[in-house]
Amino acid sequence: MNVGFIGLGLMGRPMALHLEKAGHALHLWARRPESLAPFAGVNAKTYAAPAQVAANADVVITMVADAPDVENVCLGADGLAAGGKPGLIVVDMSTINPNAARSIGSRLGEKGIEFVDAPVSGGETGAINAALTIMVGGKPEVFEKVKPLLEKMGKSVTLIGGSGAGQVAKACNQILTGVGVMAVAEAFNFAAKSGVDAAKVREALLGGFAYSKVLENHGQRMLDRNFKPGFKAWMHQKDLRIVMEEAHRMGLMLPSAAATAQVFNAIVGSGMGENDSITALQLLEKMSTPE
């Protein structure tokens, strides 16, 4: 298949390379030309604008930072909509506001271009190991067409519902992981300040009802004091911003997510945003230590 790929950062690069390895021809555009360097010598053509990528591809995947970027790549001057033939499928794997995804999808639809939102969980490691969890929103028949591609990048690919539903699932994912990281950080800090070994606490709790993937994985990294990303704290801040925007729009009370989002504001504001999101533990430690 001819696959367009836009957004060749930490996540996008390994994802695109998995597709190439599976025998697909890549069609690429990048805002920064240096992002194209890793694709020299593989089956990939590069272009001067997203419109040309769209003209040469059956499916275009986007993996960029936020809603305005997706909007620009899809609908801006020389965007995908300017070059894509009717029947083109755009798969946006970025994490953006569900409502923005629905809006972009419907505007592409007016031009006969199909759109599915397919955000991912699993971070850079998941991207490198083709082990991402992919949550999809869109028409079932379009989903079936792109599913084989998604399966080359992820180990779990689920159609959640119509347009925007993938982003809703991702927002739920970020509530659970964000609040979960805070819960583990608070528990570990509580144990440590009580003079108890947090490692022993974790070990004991893993067998009980408080078990979670976050306690197991993030918890271990907290104990190892390994704050290298992983998933950067500023990205979690951004994702929680999306959650809270949607909560505001719908009039939804999310007290725990709101409190967690403020902790991530504090993390970013105090210059720790480039750390993994488990740096929340360091913030709690700082706040429970005399000046």
Binding site: R241, E245, G251, A258
Partner: protein, 290 residues
């Protein structure tokens, strides 16, 4: 002065009346012509387009609701305003949006001043608003006659956008305190104590505040008709938490109050006064208070 005015809501209407009374020549425009009828009846000149308001005025005042409303008006005013003219916006919008408009205006030799107000409909009617403004300091003498006609205080906070930062602080303190009053009222009721007396006792002490005085009274008398429509405070919380996210400033209490406002909206109380935060708490009233 030759002034323009756009936006005739609860706040805008009395402000227009004060400006006309102070002897200013006023050009007005509104999307629905009927909204400006009262102003025309008082002697304002009706314009057919935003640009017409701009071309005839030294200072154009706007007072609307959302970021997009102000930005849209700014785009329509900019090409028609004379060099040296001022766009004076009384709306409550995001500081970042105010700054962006100011930069675009400056390229056309037009000044943008953000001058959000505090004091609500009552303050607007009595010309006792507290005005907090951001813009070039040299503009102060030209703005003074307008500010003195509308408010009892006008403080220059800093450059364009700074007024909106002050307004965000104002809203945070006010609404967080309204929530504190609601929680106190709920606690008193659950304990079987009369909040009217609790409030009266507290007004003289360290917990006394305008919020307790005004919004606390509405809770005590269960008069939840607006006042200040809670949906406007809800909107303000989206602006200020967004700004906090942008600059990485933690607002733990405000974020929690924001969620109570979300619940208030979900329960269909958005057009009621913000003292309805008490009714959000009453949704989960303890057995003892029923």
């Amino acid at each position: 002065m030759r002034l323009g005015f756009i936006g005739f809501g609860t706040m805008g209407q009395p402000m227009v009346e004060h400006l006309l009374k102070a002897g200013h020549e006023l050009r007005v425009w509104s999307r629905r012509a009927a909204s400006a009828d009262f102003a025309v009846a008082l002697g304002a000149l009706r314009c057919a387009a935003v640009a017409e308001v701009a071309s005839g005025s030294e200072i154009v005042c706007t007072n609307v609701t959302a970021n997009a409303d102000v930005a849209g008006l700014a785009d329509a005013l900019r090409p028609a305003l004379a060099r040296g003219a001022i766009h004076l916006d009384f709306s409550t919008i995001a500081p970042g949006v105010a700054k962006t408009i100011a930069v675009a205006h400056a390229e056309c030799g037009v000044d943008f001043v953000d001058a959000p107000v505090s004091g609500g409909g009552v303050g607007a009617r009595n010309a006792t608003l507290a005005i907090m403004w951001g813009g070039r300091e040299e503009l102060a003498p030209r703005l003074a006659p307008i500010f003195s006609a509308l408010g009892k205080s006008a403080v220059r906070i800093g450059e364009a956008g700074a007024g909106q930062v002050a307004k965000a602080c104002n809203q945070m303190i006010l609404v967080n305190l309204i929530e504190a009053c609601a929680e106190a009222a709920a606690l008193a009721a659950a304990a079987g104590v009369d909040f009217t007396l609790v409030r009266e006792a507290m007004l003289g002490g360290s917990a006394g505040s305008r919020a307790l005085e005004v919004f606390g009274a509405r809770m005590a008398t269960r008069d939840f008709a607006a006042g200040v429509e809670a949906r406007l405070h809800h909107k303000d919380y989206a602006l200020l938490t967004d700004e906090a996210t942008r600059i990485g400033a933690p607002l733990p209490v405000s974020a929690t109050v924001w969620q109570q406002l979300n619940a208030l909206m979900a329960r269909g109380l958005g057009t009621q006064d913000t003292s309805s935060l008490l009714r959000v708490l009453e949704t989960v009233r303890p057995e003892s208070a029923r």
